[in-house]
Symmetry: C2
Subunit: 309 residues, 2 copies
Amino acid sequence: VADLASPAAKVAVIGLGSMGYGMASSLARAGFDVVVHDVRAEVAARFVAEHAGRSRPAKSPAEAAAGAGIIVIVVVNADQTAAVLSGEGGVLERAAPGAVAISCVTMAPERARSLARDVTARGLLFLDAPISGGAQKAQEGALTVLASGAPAAFAAAEPALNAVAAKLYRLGDEPGIGASFKIINQLLAGVHIAAACEAIALARRLGLDLAKVYEVITASAGNSWMFANRVPHILEGDYAPRSAVSIFTKDLGIVADIARSESFPAPVASAALQMFLMTAAAGMAHDDDSSVARLFAKIAGLELPERKV
Amino acid sequence: VADLASPAAKVAVIGLGSMGYGMASSLARAGFDVVVHDVRAEVAARFVAEHAGRSRPAKSPAEAAAGAGIIVIVVVNADQTAAVLSGEGGVLERAAPGAVAISCVTMAPERARSLARDVTARGLLFLDAPISGGAQKAQEGALTVLASGAPAAFAAAEPALNAVAAKLYRLGDEPGIGASFKIINQLLAGVHIAAACEAIALARRLGLDLAKVYEVITASAGNSWMFANRVPHILEGDYAPRSAVSIFTKDLGIVADIARSESFPAPVASAALQMFLMTAAAGMAHDDDSSVARLFAKIAGLELPERKV
């Protein structure tokens, strides 16, 4: 896909968390020359060691962006994305006109539109492209991308998107639409995790066989993608973070902010947000998001399965 | 399966709502002699007309149960089930010892255990057997049955269960376990419907293409069985009740009662219950449970799709 002689063949990836690291790996595997930046220099060094000859580290977003046709930003939140773009040593200091900035962070649609204005004012293209699927799919190049933006931004971004995504949704020509779809997904995903934990904890209190509950519910109308995916963590007593509680205090926080700014009620999402906040307050912010079940156990003196060593 | 000369070949079905009517139809199709009772005599008459030669009406639960080996009770709630069994003209007045009462209503596990004590004290068998799947699966004989009870009760009930169920879960030897599993399923199902309606309403407020939201979410981690099943009703503007709001004010009410009686918190289910109560309070108790989306529309002045005539 990529022409190694063209500027598009050089891709900058800024942010090497579990998602960014996997995406950068998929891009290197697809033949791109990948320049990586992370505030943790040792993580960038590890990536470069793993992809020798296909990658190099950059000391700043500006250095990473210099000469890159595609700039992928996979940091934690909207504020970090803004700093990566417009802060000191940011992308906009040195990115070439015509390059595309692909913004992958979950954020309010208004923030995505605002970032797009900053970027396009400097002659760059902007794609609002939140991602879904988790760390393993990022590593496999099999993410779902919920993207919106100008046709030129899509055209410029496409070679990189093809390398990281199994499913690419083109949701509209304006930035902010991709962000909105992601927010709706996160509302549901967060509620479903909290509900799964509440249901499993109550089932434990009622003395039910939890493995049987998993079998019955996943074959019944009470099932959700998240129930099927997260409850095994509880059954195994394994709360190592595949996706942390802090992701949902952030994302359901965005849902709550948007709903309030639209004068729109979101009572079920708000109840779920409170459960993630309680779980974080109880010291589990960086544990797996299925830890909401452990919060119930802690509060009510339940015994949930413990991890087999 | 059924031996028409044996008492097991005669099955009583008490309660011809959308679930009971379908189950009675499946039993008639399977070759049973089906005696039906409903407080609405005209519904029983319609059933008998549709299944001439295979069915007859009874004026009371007692009359229906007389001579039946299997008595299926599919009324609205635990109080009605108790009245059908032990009230004036109830099943226990005339049912033969050794017959099995199959209790299909969603109720608190303690109520199921209490009914079982009443029934077994009279020499009958009792199976705690809540059902799931909706009216269409009832009609097709393809329900899911979440059953618990004594092995003798299972043995006696099995011919009828085979005729009504695609999946029969044997969850334990004690009544109350089936009820508990059903309650956990209803907690999740109710939360997922309320969340789906909240998400779709917020998506509408954000100006998203709702058909596209359906496409994206059903392929993403935010999906649930209920989202996939109920959101098409909203997209079609069709709130004719496949399952009514009043079912979930009842079932999430049971969840809330059980949680409180166990001194156990259920914050997400409680938020969902309030949404169904608000929808019922707004005059939609007997409409489809996806009407929670119409509540949001009514409150916030949204336009949701209207039914094409």
